[in-house]
Amino acid sequence: MNNRFKIILLRLLSPIFAIFLAALISSLVIVFIHQNPLKVFVTMFSFSFRRIDSIAIILYNATPLIFSGLAVSVGFRMNLFNIGVEGQYLMGAFLAALVGFSIKGLPAFIHLPLTILSAIVAGALWSFLPIYLKVKKGVHEVISTIMLNYISFSVIHYFIADLLMDKSQKMLNGLGSPLVRMPKLMPTALMPRMREFLNMFGFNIPKHVYLNWFFPLGILLAIGIYYMLMRTPFGFELRAVGHNPDAARTSGIKPEKVYFMGFILSGAIAGLVGLSDLLGYFGYMDLDFPRNYGFNGIAVALMGQNSPIGIILSAILFGFLNRGAEGVQTFLNVPMDTVIILQALMIISIVIITKVMNDYIKRMEKREVSKNASGRTAGVQL
């Protein structure tokens, strides 16, 4: 009993240890460029938590990371590494932008869901090839998805810059460098912001905050995924295959089928990652559409230890770090990229700490078992 409490405590503490370890090491980097790390971290906090709109901006930053963290974590649950979230969400955003601008005359309650659905479909389709190659040809999903990421960059570049470019835009800007972007989405395809809703409760959110309904949607999805994993037969199969595919097969589960369904589910979720930016902020897709959410999702999933609540919290943590980094760059002239370093260090620290703790827990359980076996003939508790 006492041990179970200890295990939960260790699980909760390990991300916190990882944050401290990563912060400590990145302090060295900051010292290296003759800045005071303490001042940098203090600025991060003071810049982020000064006003209510800063908190709304953090939640806006966290929104795509919730989706990408969930997408990566569904893969991790099956012991598959979906590093292709990057390409999947760009394809998702692209198809959504296409559906959003080309279909006209639909009411919003049809157009918006249709746009979201097309992003899901594109993400799912883009994840089909790697899992097919994995199951049928034994190609490691990490390399195939990375190759597909590069291919998706080119595909999107082609569609945005050559085929679907907004020509009127080019004409308007004339002599200056024209914005290479697709036509603007119909207003019926855009996601409303949460500003009016929050203002009703007395929060005074200014206009430049783009927090939109994808944030609560992301939280709902996290709950849905949790329910799916823990309470449905498919979720059970998914976890079983992740733990031990051979054992799962012996008990009548077809791992190949689970891999297929699970990976495509991961891709479908990934399709949604870019929508908060596309439908809640830009309203069009261009060549500078935000990148790297897929890679950030890996850090989010690992820090959140694949649990939906953990993912939401770590997405918010990274949302805060990104916000803080803007402040640090503006006020202290420390490059924003400190956050990327911090993120990479967090990944390494969290996996090492988790590993060490799991080994410790295993040893503890072993001791417990042998103690029980030698003492009473009581059942083994797990």
């Binding site: 980097v29 460029i33 590494f81 590093i83 090839l129 190659l133 040809k137 034994g138 190609v139 490691h140 990490v142 390399i143 195939s144 990375i146 190759m147 597909l148 590069y150 291919i151 080119s154 595909v155 570049h157 082609y158 810059a161 050559d162 890679f295 890996i298 850090a299 690992l302 490059p335 990229d337 400190t338 956050v339 990327i340 370093i341 993120q343 990479a344 260090l345 990944i347 390494i348 996996v351 090492i352 988790t354 590993k355 060490v356």
Partner: protein, 304 residues
């Protein structure tokens, strides 16, 4: 366009892939999957350019190899000593390489994505090349790194197959328990494999920055680290196989440059060729090749 020109350019494009693939052979033969090669190339290209900018090309290459080794040490500590998932560790290193290069570039050059122009090594011209006009592109302006890389193929073949070190390296990758029982220091061999791969990937990155482009540009590696892994798999985990596979990828890449110049196909699709080729190669050939038996499996001394 001359055939000799195409061949010469294939060779030049193949070099960074080959160097990294050779490194991957050492790492994977010792049983450690190194997906962080991309990141080691990135730091190699940045630190190579940095070193060359301040102290000249020789220092540049040394610093680049050191930078690759530093990342490799992190990978080895995480995946050999602490036995964490090798893929996760490698991916984290790639992120670290990307972020730290941007950070350093911003801090030193006040530009996150490029460095100023930097010097490369003195190019070698084969004497008498002018008298054979068709072969001139192949025989002139050769970077010494190209020659070193080509020499590294038979040398690596010899080290891995004919020396005690190579035998132990392979033993550790095939059956670490048996190697351990016979008194081979499993962890030390794995460290050696990973560190060699970091050094060579760092060198490859420096080649890209100093010999190929003359400066560091963010994203200049363009996934060559991953392509090198594919080349190593395609080459069946051997140095000479890696040579053949890298030449194929180098050819694809140089072909894509040529086709761009006069073509109806949009250049974005031509840019995809190396990545498509990687997928096709892996899908078509990966089953016929055999990885080291304990590749990617951390060695736990008292497991079972």
């Amino acid at each position: 366009m001359h055939l000799a020109e195409l061949l010469a350019s294939s060779f030049r494009m193949a070099i960074p892939i080959l160097l990294t693939a050779l490194g991957a052979v050492y790492s994977e033969r010792s049983g450690v999957v190194n997906i962080g090669l991309e990141g080691m190339m990135i730091v190699g290209s940045f630190w190579g350019a940095l070193g060359s900018y301040f102290y000249g090309p020789y220092v540049g290459f040394l610093v680049a190899m050191l930078a690759g080794i530093v990342l490799a040490i992190i990978h080895a500590i995480a995946s050999v000593t602490f036995k964490v998932d090798q893929i996760v560790s490698g991916v984290a290193l790639n992120i670290l390489a990307y972020g730290s290069s941007r950070f350093m570039s911003q801090a030193i050059f006040k530009m996150a994505t490029t460095t100023p122009h930097v010097a490369g090594l003195v190019k070698i011209n084969i004497p008498g090349a002018d008298s054979v006009p068709y072969l001139k592109p192949l025989l002139t302006g050769i970077s010494p790194i190209i020659i070193i890389t080509i020499l590294l193929v038979p040398i690596s073949e010899f080290i891995i197959n004919r020396t005690v070190f190579g035998l132990r390296l392979r033993a550790v990758g095939e059956n670490p328990l048996a190697a351990d029982t016979l008194g081979v220091n499993v962890f030390r061999m794995k460290y050696a494999g990973v560190l060699i791969s970091g050094m060579l990937a760092g060198l490859a990155g420096a080649y890209l920055a100093m010999e190929h482009t003359g400066m560091y540009v963010e994203g200049m590696t363009q996934g060559k680290g991953y392509i090198a892994l594919a080349a190593m798999i395609f080459g069946n985990w051997t140095p000479s196989g890696a040579l053949m596979a890298s030449l194929l990828f180098g050819f694809a890449e140089s072909l894509s440059f040529r086709v761009v110049e006069n073509s109806f196909i949009p250049y974005q699709f031509i840019k995809m060729i190396p990545y498509m080729l990687t997928l096709i190669v892996l899908a078509g050939f990966v089953r016929k090749s055999t990885p080291p038996a304990a590749d990617g499996v951390p060695y736990e001394r008292n497991a079972g």
